[in-house]
Amino acid sequence: MPRKSNDRTWIYAALFAGSFLFFLPFWWMVISSLKTNHQIFTFPPDWFPWPIRWRNYLEALTFIPFLRYLWNTLIISAANTLGNVLSASLVAYSFSRIPWRGRDACFYLMLATMLLPPQVTMIPVFVIFRTLRLIDTFAPLIVPSFLGTSFFIFLLRQFFRGIPEALSEAARIDGCSEWQIYARIMMPLSITGLVTVVVFSFLWSWVDYLNPLIYLQSPEKFTLSLGLQQFQSSHALEWGMLMAASTLMVLPVVVLFFIAQRAFIRGIITGGLKG
């Protein structure tokens, strides 16, 4: 079978070339974060810089109020995660387990709203929060997740539908209330689905830029995304420090990915294949 092994050589060559190109930006970010300004503005660039300059990280943590931004981002992400898990699981339970009139209409309405460009609702929602004097607080970044995010409701509904109907029916006959079925049967059996919601909810608020940009004004309330961009727009030539700060911002999500790799893949596939 000489032809077949020849094919495999090409496949491996393409895969290694592809992964080299996809990995290169990460490598560039990390080596730039370890260079002095003099090393950075050198051509051709040094791909394995020596000596290594750790000072950029120290400067990133002190020049940029990095820890403040980190703390703000953590609070917002944690609150969003809590809100999404609570609201999406309750609504998904209603959409998958309680046969009520109008349920399917509501579900399709929810799917339809996923096609609406956020630009249409962005301005009136801003006006609402402005009227409530909540601009420059975390509320506009947190409250909506407690009122359900369509994607997570959809994801958990798919998940709940995979749990045998007989379980909740039996519990209902035994006199369990809907709350008990939800809390004691559906939630414990859906841990993997809930982990997917936790992971994506956390990731999305971690990387969100547009909402902090619209709603946050005081620098001490900035999230990492907004703070880093603001810093960059005033110190655009400090590449060493900027790359150190970027590395510090990327690191947590990379760690999260390696911890919850399967939840990531499950989330993407549920969204993509069954959608």
């Binding site: 491996y12 560039w28 309750l90 209603s94 460009p117 301005i123 929602v125 009122l147 960059q232 999500v253």
Partner: protein, 304 residues
């Protein structure tokens, strides 16, 4: 309604109440309000003043940038979406050949998709730096001169598309899952019939995963109409060398959503921005409609 049905109705509404509330406050109400604002002159501070279709008239017939921003957005879509679908499919097809180190390759290709978009944007401004950037260094070893990328009106949009291609990992994962569901028996039957690789790709693989292609196409189109954050960071006030002006050199990266944002939150012309949002919605609906109407190539397998 029986007693049972009434109980279900009450419980169903109760459990769905977060979404019902959220839908009314954050979707239904704002849709109505947005349409009303689009007929008004409104700067947030003062009450909206009704001016009829004036915003739409100015936008469609007098705004000097409207067509330009639409062109930039459609450019990003027409070149960006097919390129990312082809790249994502190719990577997925390579991974679907029972290679070793599958999870290693999958991780390397997927990882850029989880990088925060602000970090992606800042990193790629540096990667695309025409003098000291990493792409220039690679091109130099091949003996090619690097274009000015983000500083050059002819290359700024390709530079943004290149940046986006780094994040195709999401789409690749969806394609890979789709490919893994293509029945092996079909390939074996075709092999027996003597079909070559290209014939099998064209007659078996592509029809089988056409729903997945369709899904990714629609999602890509929707995302390109809303394309904002990267272009905002990469070409807005990024540094003196870009003139500090939004929309890149000669407005070549002033995409629709960026222009809308400027009207809404920099000039506080909320009425005008709302009209822009409705036009965006109508155009995206029209494009999605055309895609749906021409979706004869999508084959749905019978439900099993």
């Amino acid at each position: 309604m029986t007693r049972q049905e009434r109980l279900h109705f009450k419980n169903g509404l109760l459990f769905a109440s977060p979404w019902i509330l959220g839908f009314c406050i954050f979707t239904l109400g704002p849709i109505v309000a947005s349409f009303y604002y689009s007929l008004c002159s409104y700067n947030v501070v003062r009450e909206p003043i009704f001016i009829g279709l004036e915003n739409y008239r100015i936008l469609l017939f007098e705004d000097p940038h409207f067509l330009k921003t639409l062109y930039n957005t459609l450019y990003m879509m027409v070149f960006g979406v097919p390129l990312s679908l082809v790249l994502a499919f190719s990577l997925a097809a390579l991974l679907n050949t029972d290679v070793r180190f599958l999870s290693f390759f999958r991780t390397v290709f997927y990882l850029p998709s989880v990088v925060p978009v602000v970090a992606v944007a800042i990193l790629w401004v540096w990667i695309l730096n025409p003098e000291y950037g990493c792409i220039n260094a690679l091109l130099a070893t091949l003996g090619v001169n690097s274009p000015g990328w983000l500083t050059d009106p002819a290359w700024s949009k390709p530079a943004l598309i290149l940046t986006n291609l780094w994040g195709v990992g999401n789409i690749m994962i969806i394609f890979l899952a789709g490919l893994q569901q293509v029945p092996q028996s079909l390939h074996e039957a075709a092999l027996v019939d003597g079909a070559n690789r290209l014939q099998r790709l064209w007659n078996i693989t592509l029809p089988c995963i056409s729903p997945v292609i369709f899904f990714n196409l629609i999602m890509g189109v929707i995302a390109s109409f809303q394309y904002f954050t990267q272009v905002y960071i990469m070409t807005t006030g990024i540094s003196p060398e870009y003139g500090g002006r939004a929309g890149g050199p000669e407005g070549s990266t002033l995409v629709y959503a960026l222009y809308l944002y400027q009207h809404a939150f920099q000039h506080f012309q909320m009425g005008y921005a709302s009209a822009m949002a409705w036009i965006l919605f109508l155009i995206s609906l029209a494009v999605i409609y055309v895609i749906l109407k021409t979706s004869g190539w999508v084959h749905y397998a019978e439900e099993r």
